[in-house]
Point group: C2
Chain length 424, copies 2
């Protein structure tokens, strides 16, 4: 790994693939086709891109049952336990509507309402992750979204992987369609004969899916467009180099664009971790991917003090942050920007990817400066409630009219005054 001990502005920002003009036009054409031809277009595009002819897009009960029979029962139990943890954590994010009343009879409040419907995109192939199904579906479910639709491209065999279907069933998804790519996003945004449109689309996907989400944004809501994954580990000299190396590699194996960073005040630890990474790399099944990620985006920053280390972390604003110090909770208090923080030796990052409960959909590429993990709020909207009494409007009406006239909006002033027109 690249060891840097003279830091001038740390950053893990990588250039985001925003697609070529050609890809954008292709996506626009697909969306137009789905808008025009509906299910026919979906079947045609699925044959073209997924190389499979489907009688029906909807996943049947039989397919769900086959998925359960096809999966190790122990794994099913583990997925259920993970779902339970994720549900519990997200329940705590849920907020009730509230109201306040004032002596003059005024009532103000905020009404919380779940979205009517949400579509979850699940990628196909090797990126078909059951954990991703749980993390995208359960916050919507906890929010109270009535209709949750899942879409995922079928394999050459016309099927969706068993793990994904099992996770969807456990999460409570009642509608699943075998369709992927920009055509799936278009169907979710505008509806077809068999897929009714939704209000929000979430979930990761390739560049075509990301571009399609950008195109339909505004007509429906979308979640963030996620970039490649990152981990930053902030460790003092007393930590275990082998464990740190393993955690860095767990991030690096995701993607050649993934970024694994160690920040430490110990050059001895820096050297040890660098050697450990090299040693562990060679026995990994995904060695090729992990090696390229480490070579390109793996960095060890050696800082003068842990205080400087905290500053570097805040500059990086990482998706995942592990804090390995004598007093990790105290260190945490100084961290302003991170998607998720893992405290202490036994909070290895994969604990959060799969099982602990908090969401693994996190802000990447420095956007933790202003973005949050996927959460229940994103599947609910707020409505402001204003109820003024006669006494309240009598007392404050003149002020409101004055403010309106200051802004040159006479009809606003008159709307208030007309309530009392006979009385003055």
């Amino acid at each position: 790994m690249n060891i840097i001990d003279n830091i001038k502005g740390a950053s893990i920002k990588r250039s985001v693939d925003s697609g070529t003009e050609e890809q954008r036009r292709a996506v626009q054409a697909i969306i137009a086709e789905v808008k025009k031809a509906g299910d026919d277009a979906l079947h045609r595009l699925t044959e073209k891109f997924d190389g499979v002819h489907l009688e029906s897009l909807a996943v049947t009960r039989d397919e769900i049952e086959d998925a359960f029979s096809g999966l190790d029962p122990e794994l099913i139990t583990i997925i259920e336990e993970a779902a339970c943890n994720i549900r519990d954590f997200h329940e705590k994010q849920k907020r009730p509507s509230w109201f306040e009343t004032k002596a003059d009879g005024t009532m103000l409040g905020q009404k919380m309402t779940p979205l009517d419907s949400v579509g979850v995109y699940v990628p196909g192939g090797t990126a078909a992750y059951p954990s991703s199904v749980l993390m995208n579906v359960l916050p919507a479910k906890v929010a109270g979204v009535e209709r949750i639709v899942m879409v995922s491209p079928p394999g050459k065999d016309g099927k969706i992987p068993a793990g994904v279907l099992v996770a969807a069933e456990i999460a409570g998804v009642k509608e699943i369609y075998k369709v992927g790519g920009a055509q799936a996003v278009a169907a979710l945004a505008y509806g077809t004969e068999s897929i009714a449109s939704v209000d929000k689309i979430t979930g990761p996907g390739n560049i075509y899916v990301a571009l399609a989400k950008r195109e339909v944004f505004g007509d429906v809501d979308i979640d963030m467009i996620a970039g490649p994954s990152e981990i930053v580990i902030l460790a003092d000299g007393h930590q275990h180099a082998d464990e740190i190396a393993a955690d860095l590699l767990s991030q690096a194996e995701h993607d050649v664009l993934a970024s694994a960073v160690l920040v430490t005040d110990s050059s001895e630890l820096a050297e040890k971790v660098s050697r450990e990474v090299e040693e562990q790399l060679s026995s990994l099944p995904r060695e090729g991917i992990a090696r390229r990620s480490i070579e390109e985006y793996g960095t060890i920053y050696v800082v003068d003090s842990m205080e400087e280390g905290v500053e570097v972390v805040n500059d990086l604003a990482p998706e995942h942050l592990e804090i390995l110090t004598a007093h990790p909770f105290e260190t945490m208090a100084s961290i302003r920007h991170a998607g998720a923080i893992f405290l202490g030796r036994y909070s290895s990052e994969p604990v959060g990817d799969y099982f602990a409960g908090p969401n693994h959909v996190l802000p990447t590429n420095g956007t933790a400066r202003f973005s949050s993990p996927l959460n229940v709020d994103e599947f609910m909207k707020k409505t402001s409630i204003i109820s003024y009494s006669e006494a309240a409007l009598k007392e404050h009406g003149d002020k409101i009219a004055k403010l309106a006239r200051l802004e040159g909006l006479e009809a606003h002033a008159r709307a208030v005054e007309i309530r009392f027109k006979g009385e003055k």
Copy 2:
């Protein structure tokens, strides 16, 4: 007004101005120029677009004091009272960080952190609204944002209107720059010698400002791109036609694209309101604008029952909704989609625009299906906290490793197992 008594799918969606290719290129060129030449570019572009040469972009203490001397002291007191109400309401939206601990020593939580810095755009000319300053700045202030920067284009006299400066001072803004348009957005996103960059940009603006916000989105966060304003009034036959007409017109005077809609089960009320609108229109200073809005987007839907009326409202998903029924609170319970709801005769919509406390920045154009009023959450981000104990990782580590292997991510499994490698 256009009275419709046979409703087939109500909608207030208007085509949103997403700018021409030429406008987009102009905005991209301006952003590139500001990135390259900084303050020099800002001065040059201000001379070009605002027709004024400025010695310094920053608003001085003297200018603030002049603004206070230039405004009616009673108005200053009213703005202070409005600010107080807005602050109070938004304080109730604020949420603390939280943690939970489990018997095995696991601790999970959510840390709330305000954004470091926010830029607020305030339009110039006749759209320079003090109320808009309060509504954009105060949620950020309540969230705890340390640095709030305001930008607004100078008039031909090189000044920002007194009302806007007074509102900014009352809201607690410490940095104000006289710069507008796409160049102001670029300065906020990327920084210049005199304006340090921010993490999020909010506030309304013309098409160039909107396009610039879209361009910089991702590098910084932005708020929603607001469309023209709307009001829907749901009223039964016992309500006051003159007051309803006045409220419809208060919306129509904003913009020729504004939409004012009445939904009622009484054709008698429909007729009365239509006549009242015509009568009141003729004496409005902004008659031209209001008349065009009413002619193009003003509609009265006559429904068979108030239940059907509620359905129509949910289809419209309005920015502002007034409920004028015998029991407005009961009616409200059935409303799923609205930005803000005004209950009863004394809650005329301008009450919310200026004074009551809830935000007047609301989702438009049907986006209340999935969006919320501007609120404190948008100026804070969440960070997930995960702390596993040795006992917890021992108990659950195997399950986590199994899930990782199901997804083909061996390094994830090993990161967990390496913690206990000597023990098995």
